[in-house]
Amino acid sequence: MKSDVLTYGPGLALPRSGRNRAAVKTKRGALARVCWQPYVYLLPALVLMCVWIYYPLLRTFYLSFFNWNMLPTTTPQFCGLDNFAKLLRTPGFSNAVVNTLVMMVGLLPFSIVLPVLVSIFAKSITKRASAFYRGMIFVPMILAPVAAAAVFRWILHPAGGLLNQLLERMGVEESISFLNDPRYALGCIIFITGWKMTGFFTLLFYSAVQNIDDGYYQAAAMDGAGFWQQTFRITLPLLSPTLVFNTMLSILFASSWSFTYVDTLTQGGPLNSTINAYYFMWDKGFRTSSSGLTSSSAVVFFLGFGLIALVLSHVGQKLSYYDN
């Protein structure tokens, strides 16, 4: 879409007049007919979120200060910050925090670096060819998580799995228990999650790169800019809003996406080396039917994610050219 110019603002070689004009008009158009219209459009999403997310969330906040087994026959007992104190003492909590941070960072090569490279290089080949590759890169997305876990379990198997066979051929004598060795298990979980998500992020980045107006590239090519110059002067700057958005997405969802693989492959082990925020909440909270731990850990991780999101959006605003 040609019109993307307007959104992306002060890029390097961008026509500035278009953006200014749009900005002025938006202001005037907005004043013409405000009042109720936008609220009507927002209503369905807002109502659904209030009923299914905000209401239970507030309840969880409230319950985190009470001692209660959730049964209607008993009444909640106020217990102040006891649940939070208990949370800190629960084995695995600090591991969960650290591992979550490691996963957030560890996933970035799969969710950002590789997809960006793929999307950029996709520009260098024909669209038909790149669509073909992208189709293949997307395929892991459609695979059922249980099946993906099963496949990787067999590949990583210590008793004859493909990876160990390969290593043996390369001269590694002792077979490695990848999923049961604290040195490797977390890396494996990150890899599997990343493998599953690369296609998703490639789709997002690819659309964004394809949406950049070809006019810039033509102009740049006429100025004699080569592929790399175009990449650094046009593609990356114009991609920056998407980059910020996707980085945020990847970081905030690392824990949630790896949850299934932790649950099916390692159950947080060995020695809590793969437990993360989501698995902690699930295993120590929900599964244990402990309302206190479920709610206090949900509150803590919610606030933690919120803090990270705040920092990221602050940094993102500075790095991004997206200034509508």
Binding site: M1, S3, D4, T7, R21, A22, T26, A30, A32, P38, Y39, Y41, L42, A45, L46, L48, M49, W52, P56, R59, T60, L114, V118, T126, A131, Y133, M136, I137, F138, M141, I142, L143, A144, P145, V146, A150, F152, W154, H157, L162, W195, G199, L203, L204, Y217, G226, F245, L249, L252, Y278, M281, W282, G285, F286, T294, S297, F302, F305, G306, A309
Partner: protein, 276 residues
């Protein structure tokens, strides 16, 4: 016919092919392995042979006999479609509101949507379950879908696409006397087929791959979804690898189909934008 505006030659192009091909192979290999194993008898799966020596359909027969896979696929598909359509509708409306107008509270609403991203499902699961039981929606597609009809991811992704849409066109449509809904349906959406279709695929797959929530809602195997069916092959008495992989292959076919249909939309829109 497509027109490639810029054609790079030489090393860049080769590097492009090399990188994309390498990533493709890495992406595909585990899948190929899965498909091959689905056709192997159990002993061959256990012994890590790469290619099947004795190709068999037994795993598929077993899988279909042990779990009601077709009804599960239909149910998952229905949930996926309803949830996807729901999330797209609420998302499109909200994103449209946020990009078209400036209005008091705009930032607040944007923030409210974003914050839902941070809410772990463990925090909402139980209260929502209690609600749904009281509504009598257990064992129904509605029960699976209802709490997920609005998605922050959908809203924010669409917000980005909508934001890229030239505001001048809103003005023009308004001058022509079109009301805001008409503008959305007749002017904005037709131009955003690509992004909406690719988002749709992702939303559908998210729902398709969901396991814990549908499991909580389900009270009989006949009403279970595909992911529940697949997990039934794993148990402490011994995992049934062959049938699991066979069922997983069968279960990927419908999404593959949907992907190809929607993919065409996406590529068409890219092509169009290429040609202009």
């Amino acid at each position: 016919m497509e027109t490639q505006v810029l054609v790079y030659r030489g090393p860049v192009r080769w590097a492009g092919h090399a990188l994309l091909a390498a990533v493709s192979v890495l992406s595909l290999f585990p899948l190929v392995w899965m498909v091959l194993n689905a056709f192997k008898p159990t002993d061959e799966i256990l012994y890590f042979s790469l290619l099947p020596q004795n190709v068999t359909l037994q795993n598929f027969a077993d899988a279909l006999e042990m779990i009601p896979l077709p009804t599960m696929i239909v149910r998952s598909f229905a949930s996926g479609v309803f949830q996807m359509v729901g999330q797209l509708c609420t998302g499109i409306l909200a994103a449209y509101a946020l990009t078209r107008w400036d209005f008091p509270g705009k930032k607040l609403f944007y923030g409210l949507f974003t914050v839902t991203w941070l809410v772990p499902f463990q925090a909402t699961m139980l209260p929502n379950y209690v609600n749904l039981v009281q509504l009598g929606l257990r064992d129904t597609v509605a029960g699976i879908v209802l709490p997920n009809l609005a998605s922050a991811f959908a809203i924010l992704t669409l917000y980005q696409s909508f934001n890229a849409f030239p505001k001048t066109i809103f003005e023009a449509a308004q001058v022509d006397g079109a009301n805001s809904l008409k503008t959305l349906l007749q002017v904005v959406l037709p131009n955003l087929k690509g992004p909406v279709a690719s988002l749709g695929i992702i939303l559908f797959i998210n729902c398709w791959n969901e396991y814990f929530w549908p499991l909580l809602i389900t009270r009989s195997i006949d009403k279970a979804t595909v992911q529940i069916g697949l997990s039934m092959f794993l148990s402490s008495e011994g995992n049934l690898w062959g049938p699991l992989l066979a069922a997983a292959v069968l279960a990927s076919l419908p999404i593959l189909l949907l992907y190809m249909v929607l993919q065409k939309q996406i590529i068409d829109s890219f092509m169009k934008s290429g040609i202009k």
